[in-house]
């Protein structure tokens, strides 16, 4: 089932790539239909998932690949991978459905999107280190072409910067992965085995280096300050759906990898350096929020809030891994909060970037000061943005709060001072989002924007689909948290 979720989009991509004479609408409808398959499969997986299960991974599908090297095709989920894979499927269907200028190459555009969905789902479902790495790298390729070919402004340069930056990161990660692999006995890339073996436990400096390699590679993708500067240009010049996927799915690869690789496979080493990671996370939280408030460009502002929000996630992960035993309840909160933050940020920021796309299509302008008073012309757009903005600033009743509250409570038990500092981020994000709403939608309407089109049905449907989950998670978080808790409990108990 999970295999089908990964490869149906790939088949769709191939069909689009080799097909001839597809019209714009045909290609679009076909792509939407294809993305509906993984979404349905994820729902089915969710229903089959046993929240009381004690196995490390569930719904596992395995096939031998290169047995002599310990490489296998292994996919499966735990309580952290499942929500992320489900969000991936949701963000993709919304992004594919979002109307955009495909520059007369609809086949190629949708083919790349479907290819990217394949590798994104593959990454979250992979239970083999090599497979994970392959998907990690391929995601760069897909995103590179989407930004470079369908972006605007200095799209090529932005795409190249994105590619080089994250590729450099992924090379350091490859080195670390190989070192980790070499320490297993017998040699294997099987994640479950490595997690059980904890191969580098008690290895001192060597383990530290491997951890550094992994964290740097994943930290670039997350991104953490100071290796975040590829993010703003990539976002600003990318087409809106690519931005939504970049923020909603690709960034999570960094933090998901952080939980899956260094955290789970090197508990002891991770615990030793968790404090450093927490400090970096808090710097990202505050720096990201403050720089975001300093931006006059709509899309850059939202891009920097990603740095802030992913900082919360990393803080949660660091806090959860800060002890080998003790404070289980608080650390369970931290890891659950980090996971919900990934899900919530995927939906919220995904929606915000799609909204940016609507602005670009209508006004070819990202300057906040150029807009104003649009609430009268575009009430639906205003409503969607208000919901997304309040969710992003952590208003209770919406998904962001569920994440941030748990991260704060969990982190405070191990890093009280850092958690207290991180709280200030909540204040700055409130200020920056209220200012954003005020500049776009309130006040006087400049004459040039009279007749600003409200959301088209396709746009409204895509946004409503994502924001509905933001509200559901905010009001009834239990259904998500129960799934996460099944993995969280394993992650925070003594190895």
């Amino acid at each position: 089932m999970l295999t089908a979720a990964i490869f149906v989009p790939l088949a769709g991509a191939v069909a689009l790539a080799v097909g001839r004479g597809w019209r714009e609408t045909t290609a679009r409808v076909f792509a939407i239909a294809v993305t509906a398959v993984p979404l349905a499969l994820m729902v089915a997986a969710w229903l089959r998932f046993d929240t009381g299960g004690t196995a490390l991974f569930q719904l596992v599908e395995e096939a031998a690949w290169i047995p002599t090297l310990g490489v296998g095709y292994r996919v499966g989920v735990d309580g952290i991978a499942l929500p992320l894979a489900a969000v991936t499927a949701l963000v993709f269907i919304a992004s594919v459905a979002y109307p955009v200028d495909t520059k007369d190459r609809p086949r190629q555009y949708y083919a790349w999107l479907l290819f990217l969905e394949c590798v994104s789902l593959g990454l979250f479902l992979a239970l083999d280190l090599l497979l994970f790495y392959v998907f990690f790298d391929l995601s760069l390729v897909g995103m590179y072409f989407l930004i470079g070919e369908w972006g605007h402004g200095q799209a090529r340069a932005a795409a190249l910067k994105f590619f080089l930056f994250t590729f450099a990161g992924s090379l350091t990660m490859l080195l670390a992965i190989l070192a980790l692999y070499l320490a297993t006995d017998p040699l294997t890339f099987d994640m479950a085995t490595i997690i059980r073996q904890q191969p580098l436990a008690g290895e001192g400096a060597r383990a530290g280096l491997v951890l550094l390699g992994l964290v740097v590679g994943l930290g670039v993708k997350t991104p953490l300050v100071p290796v975040h500067t590829w993010l703003p240009p990539a976002h600003v010049d990318a087409p809106a759906p690519a931005s939504a996927i970049l923020a909603g799915v690709l960034l999570k690869m960094g933090t998901y990898g952080l939980i899956r690789l260094p955290f789970a496979m090197m508990r002891e080493t991770f615990q030793r350096y968790a404090g450093v990671l927490a400090v970096v996370a808090v710097v990202s939280i505050l720096y990201g929020a403050l720089v975001a408030l300093g931006q006059a460009n709509l899309k850059r502002r939202i891009a920097y809030t990603s740095v802030n929000h992913m900082g919360y996630t990393v803080l949660g992960v660091a806090a959860a891994g800060a002890l080998l035993s003790g404070e289980e309840a608080a650390r369970g909160f931290a890891i659950a909060g980090a996971t919900v933050e990934m899900v919530a940020h995927g939906l919220i920021t995904g929606a915000l970037f799609l909204i940016c796309g609507s602005f670009w299509q209508r006004g070819h302008e990202y300057d906040l000061d150029a807009y104003g008073g649009l609430a009268s012309e575009a009430p639906s757009l205003t409503g969607a943005t208000v919901v997304a903005a309040f969710a992003s600033l952590g208003l209770p009743g919406l998904a962001g709060f569920v994440a941030e509250f748990q991260i704060f409570v969990g982190a405070f038990a191990v890093y009280p001072v850092l958690a207290g500092l991180a709280l200030l981020g909540v204040l700055v994000t409130a200020a920056l989002f209220l200012q954003l709403l005020q500049k776009l939608f309130l006040g006087e309407l400049p004459a040039r924007w009279s007749g600003f089109r409200d959301l088209a049905p396709a746009e409204a449907a895509a946004l409503a689909g994502m924001l509905a989950f933001v509200v559901i998670i905010g009001v009834y978080p239990r259904w998500l948290l129960d799934v996460i808790a099944s993995a969280g409990a394993l992650l925070v108990e003594a190895p």
């Binding site: 002599t68 590729f167 190989l178 208003l395 209770p396 409570v409 200020a431 209220l434 239990r478």
Partner: protein, 640 residues
């Protein structure tokens, strides 16, 4: 079942917002709003009577708890009862554009407040607390087409959210210390975490109740329509701070500094707010400063140890302050502006003037009105804490009497000389809304009757303090002096010009606190943000670009030599790696073999990928791949 208390107004409010009544819009909206609130009041009455509890599994190990004690029951009932006439007034009085949103959000506001009131753990409290703030943003920014309104709303929200951080902090440290967020488990805290938790709650309460130095946000909140101000000051939002101190008093009082800090905050606000109100030339801002001052008195009462006195004053204050705000709204519409000096509507609106007088006299503390009774109770509580505190509360009462009389005389005093032509006076409904509230203010005056003291003590679940006779005498003397001073100043035509000189205008604008906040907090923060944004673009990214540029120079050199050389290098390295792997595999080093073969495969794949990326800058990748390879080979060589 108790969930119905917050959820009924929340759901009803959202529904009202979405309705577009085809005709008789004012009647429909007013009726729907009032009905929703009366139902809520019914549920609240039931809750106050039976003290039920409820829970909701929010997360594994976290249950949202609701519960009602005596204090919560009284406030839960108060909120919808005060809100009902306000909503009717809003439906009748406010501009038609956006009316459904206004009425709907006012009802939602009540729902959020009810959640906060019946919360029995810190998370539920925080949820209600933040929702109240968010709804207040929507209400203050109601007239969003005027650019200054959303700005004012953001100021109010940001200030109170700073206080909300205190509540976040309290929840965090309570969980770390007690392993639970429930009120019932807070007593288990000790050590630094106890102090952090108490400090967080006090910070949140001070910000919400507009105590110094947070008071100026209430001036910004005046950007909202009058019914918003009335509700926000009387029963929701601002009331939350004083309420939570009373609700959690037995826990908060565990730390020795709680009483002096809260008494100090309250007293400073009561006196400073009184001075500001005496000088403030705007009708609504005068009332806003007075609100801060009276919540200050409640803080004094709770800090001094009598939660019952604090809540009693909260109840009567809700009645007379909402009445006065609605009266101010009528005066602003009829007088065509907010300046007190241009109103004097007594002759034109005699009924409204008379109803307003009931509220003003209660605010002044004149018996037998209810405000006076509860103020004397607060005074008694303060006097029991320390005689000097009692004296200062008496002084605050004198200020209150002066500005109450000033408000009444300027807004609804008789017009001297010719009757100027003013804006329209609207509708017949407003006096009824005012009348209901005036009746409540006067009716609560029954507390002066024998047995009132016992009844109030019984309802609030705590014996109210009885003050010394000299306190009552001193207090009434100062009230009289305050009223007399106002009347006297009015006769000398000095009352209207008060606060217009530059120096007193500074005082009237919250003693310059807003200016200070802009200069010391907002300005530097925004400056820092702009500087960091530039820093991020120029310095952080420059480091990256520098590295990339270096790579570019190197690769350009290589490219000049020959693109193929690099390419060959890549292929050569791959071949080298394969060769090494073959060599090692014959030696039987299976693992190493696998690694290198894997590497070779990876390299070949990467090389293929890179070749696909014919962007004209492919040499960059080759350089990177080559660098990576060298590193790889070196690392593997060192490893074994």
């Amino acid at each position: 079942m108790l969930w119905a208390l917050p959820l009924t107004p929340l759901a009803a409010g959202l529904a009202i917002w979405r309705t577009r009544p085809p005709r008789r819009e004012r009647l429909t909206l007013g009726t729907a709003g009032a009905l929703a609130l009366l139902v809520t009041a019914g549920i609240a009455a039931w809750a106050a009577w039976t003290h039920p509890g409820a829970g909701y599994g929010w997360a594994p190990g976290v249950t949202l708890l609701l519960g009602v004690d005596d204090v919560a029951g009284v406030v839960a009932l108060l909120v919808p009862l005060v809100a009902a006439p306000i909503v009717v007034y809003a439906a009748a009085h406010e501009r038609r554009r956006g009316l459904a949103r206004l009425v709907g959000l006012l009802v939602v506001f009540v729902g959020a407040m009810e959640l906060l009131v019946v919360a029995e753990d810190l998370l539920t409290l925080l949820i209600g607390w933040e929702l109240v703030g968010a709804v207040s943003w929507g209400l203050i920014a109601h007239e969003w087409r005027q650019a200054d309104r959303p700005r004012a709303a953001a100021h109010a929200f940001n200030t109170t959210r700073f206080g909300d951080l205190g509540l976040f902090l309290a929840a965090m440290s309570a969980f770390a210390g007690a392993g639970s967020l429930g009120y019932a488990d807070l007593g288990g805290l000790d050590g630094p975490l106890l102090h952090v938790t108490v400090g967080g709650v006090v910070l949140a309460a001070a910000a919400k109740s507009a105590q110094v130095p947070f008071s100026p946000w209430l001036f910004s909140a005046m950007g909202g329509p009058t019914p918003v101000s009335a509700l926000l000051h009387a029963a929701t939002m601002v009331a939350a701070g004083a309420y939570i101190l009373a609700r959690l008093h037995s826990f908060l009082d565990l730390v020795s500094w709680f009483a002096p800090v809260v008494v100090g905050l309250g007293l400073a606000t009561a006196l400073a707010g009184g001075v500001v109100a005496c000088l403030q030339p705007h009708a609504k801002k005068l009332l806003a400063a007075s609100t801060s001052a009276h919540y200050g008195l409640m803080f004094v009462a709770v800090g001094a140890g009598s939660t019952a006195a604090g809540i009693a004053h909260l109840v009567t204050h809700a009645a007379f302050k909402s009445l006065l705000f609605l009266a101010a709204g009528v005066a602003i519409t009829a007088g065509g502006g907010e300046l007190l000096g241009r109103m004097r509507l007594g002759s034109r609106l005699p009924v409204v003037a008379a109803l307003t007088a009931v509220g003003s006299l209660a605010l002044a503390g004149v018996p037998p009105l209810s405000g006076a009774w509860t103020k004397e109770v607060v005074l008694a509580a303060a006097g029991e804490y320390a005689p000097w505190l009692g004296m200062l509360v008496v002084a605050a009462g004198g200020l209150s009497a002066f500005y109450a009389a000033r408000f009444q005389l300027l807004a609804y005093g008789p017009m001297p000389g010719d009757a100027r032509d003013h804006g329209p006076t609207r509708g017949a409904v407003e006096p009824w809304a005012l009348g209901v509230l005036a009746l409540a203010v006067a009716g609560l005056g029954a507390l002066w009757l024998p047995g009132g003291h016992e009844l109030a003590s019984h309802l609030l679940g705590e014996e109210l303090p009885t003050g010394a006779t000299w306190e009552l005498v001193a207090s009434l003397a100062l009230v009289g002096a305050g009223v007399y001073a106002a009347v006297n100043a009015d006769r000398g035509e000095r009352l209207a010009t008060l606060g217009l000189s530059p120096r007193s205008a500074g005082v009237a604008d919250w003693l310059g606190l807003p200016v200070l906040a802009r200069a010391a907090v907002v300005g530097p923060t925004l400056g820092l943000c702009a500087a960091l944004a530039r820093f991020d673009d120029r310095v952080v990214d420059a480091g990256v670009r520098g590295a990339a540029g270096l790579g570019g120079v190197v690769s350009a050199g290589l490219a000049r030599a020959d693109d193929r050389v690099v390419d060959a290098g890549v292929r050569g390295t791959a071949r080298l790696a394969s060769a090494v792997s073959r060599l090692l595999s014959t030696a039987g080093e299976l693992g190493f073999d696998g690694l290198v073969r894997g590497l070779a495969g990876g390299i070949a794949a990467t090389a293929r990928d890179s070749r696909r990326l014919q962007t004209g800058m492919t040499h960059h990748y080759y350089v990177l791949v080559a660098c990576g390879l060298v590193a790889l080979v070196a690392a593997t060589a060192i490893w074994r």
